[in-house]
């Protein structure tokens, strides 16, 4: 059985709407080659194969949403929504800077999701009883 140790411990953020804490992050989403960046709230979602952000965020950092490759996402209800893939910079004070190709939805979504592509960058632990996320960089 492997032992797992973590280097970074972060409190769950609070949903400003409800005050409830949840496993997620405030993370910077930036356009590559520029310093255009927004800080957005995301949920960590191990059920998401690819990260997904609302398409308005792409426009907010100066990307042309429709220039990205089309990617369909299947939801838990069986519906499908479409997104456009763009390579962006994800930035966090403690987790560093990472480039990822993520989806930006063509339809409005209520929550941004960091999926298994993001999970591949770290060893991640969920310490639910303490409302804390635990991280160690992979490699």
């Amino acid at each position: 059985m492997p032992d797992v140790s973590y280097r970074i411990s972060l409190d769950y953020p609070r949903d400003p709407r409800t005050g409830d804490s949840f496993p997620g992050l405030w993370i910077g989403v930036g356009r590559l080659g520029t310093n255009s960046e927004l800080e957005v709230q995301c949920h960590l979602d191990s059920g998401a194969e690819l990260s997904l952000f609302d398409g308005q965020i792409a426009r907010g950092i100066g990307l042309e949403l429709q220039r990205g490759v089309v990617q369909a996402y299947g939801t838990s209800s069986g519906a499908t929504l479409t997104a456009r893939l763009h390579r962006v910079r994800l930035s966090h004070e403690e987790l560093g800077h990472h480039e990822l190709r993520v989806g930006f939805s063509e339809q409005p979504i209520a929550r941004n999701l960091l999926g298994r592509d993001f999970f591949g960058l770290f060893q991640i632990g969920f310490w639910e009883s303490q409302s804390r996320l635990l991280f160690s960089p992979e490699g």
């Binding site: 005050g19 308005q56 907010g60």
Partner: protein, 72 residues
């Protein structure tokens, strides 16, 4: 779109403060709502014009506290 300064309280006290922005994007600066609109790009441009280089933005979801959330 209107400039608004709404202070967020901590914890569950935050609930009533954002209720009037349901269905909109807000820009938060030092825990204050400084801009809100359904159009994210518009309020980001306004925030940048105010010197905020990395605006913190949030979509205010229409959801009551009894609803259980899923990712999607």
């Amino acid at each position: 779109m209107a400039e608004t300064k709404t202070h967020l309280s901590s914890g569950r006290d935050a609930t009533p403060d954002l209720r009037s922005f349901v269905g909109e994007w807000v820009v938060l600066h030092e825990e204050v709502v400084i801009e809100h609109s359904p159009d994210l790009k518009a309020i980001v441009e306004k925030a940048r014009a105010k010197g905020i280089g990395r605006p913190r933005v949030l979509y205010v979801e229409d959801r009551d506290s009894e609803t259980v959330k899923l990712g999607l």
